[in-house]
Amino acid sequence: MTTYIHPSPSAADAAVERPTAAPATGAPAPGAASAPAPRRPRQGLIHGLLTNPKAMVGAAILLVFIALALLAPVLFPGDPSRITDMASLEPSAEHWLGTTAKGQDVMALTIHGARSSLLVGLTVGFASTLVGILVGLASAYFGKFIDEALSLVTNVFLLLPGLPLLVILAAFLPPGLGTVILVLIVTGWAGSARVLRSQALSIRSKDFVAAAVVSGERAGRIMFREILPNMASIVMGTLLACVIYGIGAQAGLEFLGLGDVSTVSWGNNLFWAGNEGALLTGSWWVFVPSGLCIALVAFALALINYAVDEVTNPRLRKIKAAKPAAVVGTTARRSTASEGNTAK
C-alpha cells in the first residue's frame, strides 16, 4: 500500500536516510486502509514475486552479489587490503578493476567489500524489522497504555534527528562492525515499528482476531499466528527498506570515517578512494565500483520491494498502454485524461 522507497526525510543525505515509511502520524491517509484483503498471503506473495519480472531482476542482481560475497575468499584468497607495490594501475587483464594508490586490487576489495556491506545491511534489516514487529504487534494487540507508551518511544526515536544521532553514537562506541550494526538498528527500528504498528492495528481490528479471542487463543499465539501471517507483504517491504537503509547508512558513516576503518567494505573503499584522491588523479576505477555496487544492491532491493507492492496491491500492477480504441470504448479514464492533457 505504500512504497518503501521513501522521500528522504532529511532531504539531505539519502545515504543515512531512515526507513520511514507510511507517514500517517495519526492522521488517516486515503488508501491507507484500502490494502485489499490479501489472498492467501504467503503463498500468494511468493508466487506473485516469482512471476513478477521486477522481482526476478532484483532477485537475480541480489543473488549475484550474495554469491560473490560468499565466494570472495575463494575468488580472491588472502587479505584483500594487502598493500603492494603495484600502485594506481589502470584496469588490466591482471587487475580487472585496477589497483588503488596502495597497490590493493580493486576487484578483490570490491568483492570482499560485499561481505561486510551485505552482512551489515541484512543484519540491520532483520534486526530492525524484528524490533519493529515486536513493538508493532505488542502495541497493536495490547493497545491502551502499552500502545501509548510504545508509540511515544517510537515517535521520539523518529523525531530524533537521525544523522546526528548516528554520528554521535558511532563516535562514542568502540569501532567495529558490531557498533555500526547496533547504531543503525538504534536509529532505524522506529520507522519500521510505526509502519508495522499501523498495519498490525488494522489487522487487530479485523473480526478474525476477535474470533480467535473468543475461541480462547492466548495473546502470543494471536499475535504471531493470527496477526503476523497477514502482514507478510508489509513485513517484507519493511525488511527490504531496512536493508537498503542499513547498506546506505553504513556507507555514509564509513565515508565520513565514522565506521570501522579497518574492515573492507564498500563504504570504506570509498573512504579510502576519497583519501587517496582517486577522483583528482583520475583513478575512476577506484571510485566507481563500490559506489555502483551499493547502488545496484539498493536498486535490486528496491525492485523487489516495488514488486512486493505490486503483487499485494493489484492496482499498482503495470498496465499495458491502451491501444487506441480497437475495442469500442476503452476506459473512460484514459480518454478523459488524454483530453485533459492535450487541452493544457
Binding site: 587479505d79 587490503s81 594487502r82 598493500i83 594506481s88 594508490a101 596502495k102 597497490g103 563516535a171 562514542f172 568502540p174 569501532p175 570515517g257 565514522l258 570501522d260 576503518v261 579497518s262 573512504f271 579510502w272 576519497g274 583519501n275 587517496e276 584522491g277 583528482l280 588523479t281 583520475g282
Partner: protein, 528 residues
C-alpha cells in the same frame, strides 16, 4: 578570479594571496589568539614574535627584537626591541607590551613554569628571568606572538573576547569582507617594513576537508596549498608544470610508534628494537605518507634537528632499518618463540598480539598502522589496527591503557623537549594517572641527568654535546619506535606571486601555520 585568468601584472598588483584552510568548514569572526581553535593567520600575519626560527635552514631571524642577550648563568635573557615598530592603530610597540603579553599568556593558558619574571626596561628592552637556568627558553619566549597592552588590558575577559578588529604589528591586519566561507586581510597601514608589503592582501578560504581544498588547488583557484595533497605530482603539479611546485622539508615533528612500556613485552628494549626492525619505513612513508616523508633514524630526531644529530649514532643505526632476520633473531633470543603456525607467543603463553591505536580521522596514520601490521606478520607478531575516534584513542594514551599507537612528538627549535618527553622520568606518570606527553611511560635515570645538564647549559656547543649523549642513550634504550619525520606540507602556484621558499632557497617552510609564515608573506611579490 582565478589566478590563471589574471596574468597581467596590473591585475596581480591588486590580487589577493589566496590560501585554503582545510580543517575549518566555516570561519567565525574570532581573532583571539588565545582561542583553542585560532583563526588562520592570527599568529602569522596579525601578531608577530620577537624572533623567528627557521627549521628548514636552522637559522634564526630577529623580528620584533633586534638582539638578545643570554645571561652567563643561563637564568635570564634580555631582548632589545626594534625601533619604530608600531601597532596597526599607530601606537608604538613598547616593552610593556611584551611583559603584559606574557602575564596574560600565563594567566590564560599557563605554561612557562620556569619563567620568574618579565621586566620591561625602558621602552625597548625587556628581561626574562628564570627560576633555574633554562636553555630552551630563548625560542620558547622568543616565538610567542606579542599583543598590544593598551588594547588587551582594557578588556574585562581577554580570553573571551572575539577580538573582531585585531590590532597587531604584522603585515596584514585589517580584516575585510568577513564571511563564514572566506575572509580577507588587508595591509597594516603602520607596518614597520612597508617595503615588504608587496601583495595587496590575503584571502583565506574555508574547506570542510582536504578534498575540497585539493580540488581548489588542482583547479588553480588558490596560490598556496599547505594541506596534504595525495599524489601531488599527478593531481597538482602536472596540471601546470611551469608554475606549480611543492616542497616537503622533513621539519615536522618526529612521528613515533609508541609502545606502552608498562606492559609486557614492551618493557623489553630488545622487543622494541626487534619490532622496529620489522617495520619497513620506506613502505611506511611511501604508502602512508605518499612518499613525502623521510624515514627516521635511531637518533629519534626529525629533520628539524639535522644540525643536532650525532653522526656516530646516525651512521651506525641498526634498529631503525628493516631487518626481518635480525628482528626474528632478537625476538627468539628474548624468549618469544615462534609456534608451529609461525606465530609468536608471549612468556605467559598468550599469543604475541596487540593493538595499534590510531584516531579514525587520521587516514594517513591509519595507512601507516596498516603497513606496520602487515610488516609484523613477517616476524610472527599479530598487530590489529584499532581506529576509534581520536578522543577515545587519546583517552587510552593519557591513562596508559593502550597497547601501542602512532603519535606525534614535541617539535621545538631545541631537541630538549623531545628527549624529555620520550625518556625523562619527570614526565612519567603511573598507569591510571593522566599524562599529556610521555604516553609510553618510559623514564631513564641516565637520560634524566643529561636533561638536567642540558637545561643548564648556556651555550649551544655544550648543548649539542649533551644532545649527542642523549642520542646515544636513546639508541640504547629505544624508548620509542621513531618512524619518520613529519613533513611540512606545502605547495604553491606562482602564476600570480613569486618569491616562494624552495629547497634551494629555504628561507622558510611552506607551512602557513608556522612562525616562518610571516617570512613568506613579507617576501612574496606579485608577478610582473
Amino acid at each position: 578570479n582565478k589566478p590563471a585568468d589574471s596574468s597581467s601584472s596590473s591585475a596581480n598588483q591588486n590580487a589577493l594571496l589566496t590560501i585554503p584552510r582545510e580543517d575549518m568548514g566555516t570561519f567565525i569572526r574570532n581573532f583571539n589568539p588565545f582561542a583553542p581553535t585560532v583563526n588562520p593567520m592570527v599568529q602569522q600575519s596579525i601578531y608577530e614574535s620577537l624572533l623567528i626560527f627557521n627549521p628548514a635552514k636552522g637559522d634564526t631571524t630577529p623580528w620584533l627584537a633586534t638582539e638578545w642577550d643570554v645571561a652567563k648563568d643561563g637564568k635570564s635573557i634580555t631582548f632589545t626591541l626594534r625601533d619604530g615598530v608600531k601597532w596597526s592603530d599607530g601606537k608604538p610597540l613598547v616593552a610593556e607590551d611584551v611583559a603584559y603579553t606574557f602575564q596574560l599568556q600565563k594567566k590564560i593558558k599557563g605554561g612557562f613554569e620556569y619563567l620568574k619574571a618579565v621586566t620591561p626596561e625602558g621602552t625597548n628592552k625587556v628581561t626574562f628571568t628564570f627560576n633555574t637556568p633554562w636553555s630552551p627558553a630563548l625560542y620558547d619566549v622568543g616565538q610567542l606572538t606579542i599583543l598590544p597592552k593598551h588594547i588587551w588590558s582594557a578588556l574585562k575577559d581577554p580570553e573571551k573576547d572575539t577580538n573582531a578588529k585585531p590590532v597587531g604589528t604584522g603585515p596584514y591586519t585589517e580584516v575585510e569582507s568577513f564571511q563564514a566561507q572566506s575572509f580577507v586581510l588587508k595591509k597594516n597601514p603602520n607596518y614597520w617594513q612597508p617595503e615588504k608589503q608587496k601583495i595587496a592582501g590575503i584571502k583565506m578560504l574555508a574547506f570542510a576537508g582536504n578534498d575540497g581544498a585539493n580540488l581548489a588547488a588542482a583547479n588553480g583557484d588558490v596560490d598556496w596549498a599547505p594541506q596534504f595533497i595525495p599524489n601531488i605530482e599527478k593531481t597538482f603539479v602536472a596540471k601546470d608544470k611551469e608554475h606549480r611546485n611543492y616542497w616537503f622539508p622533513p621539519t615536522g615533528a618526529m612521528i613515533n610508534w609508541q609502545l606502552n612500556t608498562t606492559k609486557a613485552p614492551f618493557h623489553d628494549p630488545a622487543v622494541r628494537k626487534a619490532l622496529s626492525m620489522a617495520v619497513d619505513r620506506d613502505q611506511v612513508t611511501k604508502i602512508g605518507m605518499s612518499g613525502y616523508a623521510q624515514p627516521a633514524d635511531c637518533t629519534g630526531l626529525s629533520g628539524n634537528y639535522d644540525s643536532w644529530k650525532n653522526p656516530a649514532v646516525k651512521d651506525n643505526c641498526s634498529w631503525t632499518k628493516l631487518n626481518v632476520e635480525e628482528a626474528n633473531k632478537l625476538l627468539d633470543e628474548a624468549g618469544y618463540a615462534k609456534g608451529a603456525d609461525g606465530k609468536r607467543t608471549l612468556k605467559d603463553g598468550k599469543p604475541f598480539e596487540f593493538k595499534i591505536s590510531v584516531g579514525a580521522s587520521s587516514s594517513d596514520w591509519l595507512s601507516v598502522a596498516n603497513v606496520i601490521s602487515q610488516n609484523l606478520q613477517a616476524v610472527g607478531v599479530t598487530a590489529k589496527v584499532d581506529s576509534p575516534d581520536w578522543a577515545a584513542v587519546v583517552a587510552g594514551y593519557e591513562q596508559g591503557t593502550f597497547d601501542s599507537g602512532i603519535v606525534w612528538s614535541a617539535n621545538d627549535p631545541s631537541p630538549y623537549k623531545y628527549f624529555n618527553t620520550s625518556m625523562g622520568s619527570a614526565t612519567v606518570k603511573p598507569v591510571g594517572t593522566k599524562t599529556f606527553d610521555n604516553y609510553h611511560r618510559f623514564g631513564d635515570p641516565k637520560a634524566d641527568a643529561l636533561l638536567k645538564e642540558f637545561v643548564a647549559a648556556g651555550d649551544e656547543a655544550k648543548q649539542k654535546d649533551i644532545a649527542y649523549k642523549l642520542q646515544e642513550e636513546y639508541n640504547d634504550a629505544a624508548p620509542l619506535v621513531p618512524l619518520f619525520s613529519g613533513p611540512e606540507w606545502g605547495a604553491y602556484n606562482d602564476t600570480r606571486f613569486t618569491g616562494w621558499p624552495t629547497q634551494d632557497n629555504p628561507y622558510a617552510t611552506l607551512s602557513v601555520r608556522a612562525p616562518t609564515t610571516v617570512l613568506v608573506l613579507t617576501t612574496l611579490e606579485p608577478r610582473k
